[in-house]
């Protein structure tokens, strides 16, 4: 069966722009969203920068206002992006039992800040006592556990849209969002729904992610945003980012039947894992996945490759895989992470939104701070470029060796 699923709507909440056109303009102008983080104290961490969403008001997007206090920033972005994608595709009128959501998101660690009053009670009178802590549980918001659920975008947004159909939630490092889109595309091919909204929402601009990525040595040290340089010999880490991107997906015949505008089509999806090669830094699975996605799409090469491109040691593996697949000359390669940071589970879907707009305009966004390529034969886009980009191959990779590709054909 040939994968072919229409994208009929986009919903975006991102640093630098809340529409694909605004985001592409900002990326091509060389803007960066990276700025000193002010929401929490960053002095304990090696990184002082974050690429944050601005100009976003959650209360505009959540009908059940009392639920707002149960939602992390990532959940709020996700709900807004889902609703934007729904409105953009004019999905109102689709049978609720045949409408569903597939979400990729990150680790919801729960909010341990809410536990502090009970923890303090636990310390009263000397050493810590779990019995004193437990006896003080009245001091904790009774809905504390709900705040930490990892499927809150799905739970809250499906209720708000009355989407009762097929659904999924992937909590899978940085590939969950791209997997949600690919799996949704196949679920539509299987006839499991009339329309599915799929994408990802995440935020790494919080102490838990600064600790996690920081201790793994993945964050860019210091406060110079132009030091974010994917595929550069001096690449030294990424800036935590955040955001959400969701897409309304339908079978082409269903979109045509209701007269929906088609922005592009998903024609390839491949998911692989490094397996036992994980600790060896094996790039073979990445090359295998790229080749399989290209074969599914029926392309020899894409017009544009949007890399995972974090600006860490992983770049070398991605570059080696590209060399394996494309030989001496790669297709144009870009990554938005230097400018919008690493939005983890949302990063793949954000790349899809950028690819749709790049394809529509025939304009490739650059990696503006990258100067000296880590390898020969890489066609790194370092300045905005006018070029056809109808066929985009998008890559996302995870900390556990996950590697996911999506092939996107943009309809002019």
């Amino acid at each position: 069966m040939k994968l072919n699923i229409a994208i009929t709507g986009v919903g975006l909440v991102a640093p630098l722009g809340h529409t694909p056109a605004a985001l592409l303009d900002a990326l091509c102008a060389g803007h960066t969203a990276a700025a000193p983080v002010t929401g929490f104290d960053v002095t304990p961490f090696p990184c002082a920068l974050g690429a944050e969403v601005t100009g976003f008001k959650a209360s505009n997007w959540v009908a059940q206002r009392k639920n707002l206090k149960l939602m992390t920033p990532a959940v709020r972005y996700g709900i807004a992006a889902v609703k934007r994608a729904y409105a953009d595709a004019a999905l109102k009128g689709v049978d609720p039992d045949r409408l569903g959501l597939l979400v990729g998101n990150g680790a919801a660690f729960g909010d341990t800040v809410d536990l502090i009053p009970a923890l303090e009670a636990g310390f009263e009178g000397g050493g810590f006592s779990s019995a004193r802590f437990a006896s003080a549980q009245k001091l904790i918001n009774p809905l504390w556990l709900i705040k930490g659920l990892s499927n809150n975008v799905l739970g809250f947004a499906s209720a708000e849209l009355d989407a009762r159909g097929f659904n999924q939630n992937y909590c899978n490092s940085a590939v969950g969002g791209l997997q949600a889109i690919g799996e949704a595309a196949w679920a539509l091919m299987e006839g499991r729904a009339a329309a599915l909204i799929a994408g990802g929402a995440d935020s790494a601009v919080n102490p838990a992610h600064f600790t996690g990525f920081g201790r793994l040595g993945l964050l860019l040290a210091g406060d110079d945003p132009t030091a974010a340089r994917p595929f550069d010999v001096e690449a030294a880490g990424f800036i935590p980012g955040e955001g959400a991107a969701f897409f309304s997906l339908e079978r082409p015949q269903d979109a045509a039947a209701r007269g929906a505008r088609v922005l592009g089509r998903i024609v390839g999806y491949k998911d692989t894992c490094a397996g036992a090669g994980l600790l060896a830094g094996d790039f073979e699975a990445i090359a295998y996945g790229a080749e399989a996605a290209l074969a599914q799409a029926g392309w020899a090469r894409p017009d544009l490759f949007i890399a995972h491109g974090t600006g860490t040691a992983f770049d070398a593996q991605e570059a080696a895989a590209l060399a394996r697949v494309f030989g001496a000359t790669s297709p144009p390669i870009t990554s938005a992470k230097a400018q919008i940071g690493h939005a983890v589970a949302a990063s793949g879907p954000l790349s899809v939104a950028i690819a749709l707009e790049a394809g529509r305009q025939g304009r490739l966004p650059p990696m503006p701070f990258t100067r000296a390529p880590i390898a020969e034969g890489l066609d790194l886009v370092t300045a905005p470029r006018q070029a056809p980009a109808r066929r985009a191959l998008i890559h996302a990779a995870g900390i556990g060796g996950q590697s996911t590709f999506l092939a996107l054909e943009v309809d002019p």
Partner: protein, 417 residues
């Protein structure tokens, strides 16, 4: 869907009833409760002081650099996976690594209360930077929901699809559904799939207590999990893992594998309602069961047994019963429905996998595990719940339900092959 049929060729589990498939199944048939007072930590002060703890578990040996990458849920998943791959005859088999995939239902691990308290003390006395530098780098990786799937991929060199589903109590049912879908469309020939969770922890007891979701029958823990009984007062936390080897029929036949059962269908739905409640009419449960029947091309009358989600909360059991009536019509009253959570508690992200394994065992052995602690009939729960004793019965098709916080529902159908 394509004509490719999907079969189950291996199963493994680690549950409070037993540390492997045989011991777990034996406990289920005997109607044994694995619920008791919490021993892992001192539960003084907590509203609930009991659970279905996993005891006596020894993690599988990991060598070299992997030995540092450990987390309880990952260890449970790996132990169950080794058993499942062993039963499937795939432990030492030469396989194309790109044709072996992994799909796991799991949730992020929460820090233990002791760890949190210690960190708070360090921040207080030595500052946040010291606390930062004392955090083990591996924590971020091993505590993530995706860790079990990564660990299994690394251990078995599985380079095919690698998926992690996190939809609370529905996680592993949906993960298994994804595995079947990947096989049907030819992404892989073998998928290792299931779920793992660790729940008898201070913060989980606290969090679910705050929501009023747990039974507080502290004076008689082993009688606390009583799905569908009128006096049910909440669920009991369990923990562990269940893993299955799913395989395309053609691949299983080509290598001469023993086929345990066929995975006939998978359906999912969303309640689109509230985060912790399900609608009283059971519409989401009904939709998920009907979607599984449609996927399998079966009629309601073809189903011989339902392993219910049956958590022992007032609301779930009433809503699920309504959903079964809605999906099965007149057949509902002729259909045995039991909840194995009455014996092993609620394994949350792992329950869908372990309960599907119970369904396969039922097909193979011709015995339906009971709902224990069933004493008082509830007028709104009026089905045949197989009370208190296992029942011999020929079962050709069994349905397993899983419904979760957040409103995702998943239903899986297995059949005698």
């Amino acid at each position: 869907m394509s004509a490719e049929r999907i079969v189950i060729t291996g199963m493994g589990c680690v549950t409070p009833l037993g540390l492997n498939l045989e011991a777990t199944w034996d406990g289920l048939l005997r109607g044994r409760s694995a619920v008791g007072p919490i021993r892992r930590f001192d539960p003084t002060g907590f509203l609930t002081t009991f659970g279905a703890e996993l005891t006596g578990f020894t993690p599988p040996t990991l060598s070299g650099r992997f030995s540092r990458w450990r987390d309880d849920k990952g260890d449970y998943a790996l132990a169950a996976a080794i058993e499942a791959m062993g039963q499937a005859g795939l432990l030492d088999a030469a396989m194309d690594p790109y044709r072996l995939g992994v799909s796991v239902g799991a949730e992020v691990s929460r820090p233990g209360l002791g760890v949190l308290a210690e960190r708070a003390a360090v921040i207080q006395s030595q500052g946040a930077a010291t606390a930062y530098h004392q955090t083990p780098p591996r924590d971020f990786v091993v505590m993530s929901a995706a860790f079990p799937a990564s660990l299994l991929a690394a251990y078995f060199n599985a380079r095919g699809p690698n998926l992690t589903t996190s939809t609370a109590c529905t996680s592993s049912a949906q993960a298994i559904g994804d595995a079947a879908r990947a096989l049907r469309r030819g992404e892989a020939e073998v998928m290792l799939t299931g779920g793992a969770d660790r729940l008898v922890e201070e913060l989980m007891v606290l969090g679910f207590n705050l929501l009023g979701a747990l039974s507080t029958r502290n004076d008689e823990p082993h009688r606390a999990s009583r799905p569908f009984d009128r006096t049910r007062d909440g669920f009991v936390l369990g923990e562990g893992a269940g893993m299955l080897v799913l395989e395309t029929l053609s691949h299983a036949r080509a290598r001469g594998a023993t086929i345990l059962a066929e995975l006939l269908g998978f359906g999912a739905s969303a309640n689109a309602w509230r985060i912790t409640d399900s609608p009283a009419d059971g519409r989401g449960a009904r939709a998920s069961m009907l979607a599984a029947l449609e996927d399998a091309g079966l009629a309601p009358e073809d189903v011989d047994y339902i392993n219910a989600h049956g958590t022992s909360t007032q609301q779930n059991d009433a809503s699920e019963t309504a959903g079964i009536h809605g999906a099965f019509g007149a057949h509902a009253l002729k259909l045995p429905v039991s909840s194995t959570k009455s014996m092993m508690g609620h394994l949350v992200a792992a329950c869908g996998a372990v309960e599907l394994i119970a369904c396969v065992q039922t097909l193979r052995h011709g015995v339906i595990p009971p709902t224990i602690n069933y004493e008082h009939r509830d007028p709104i729960c009026d089905l045949d719940y197989v009370p208190n004793e296992a029942r011999p019965a020929r079962v050709d098709v069994a349905l397993s339900n899983a419904f979760g916080f957040g409103g995702s529902n998943g239903s899986l159908l297995v059949g005698r092959f």
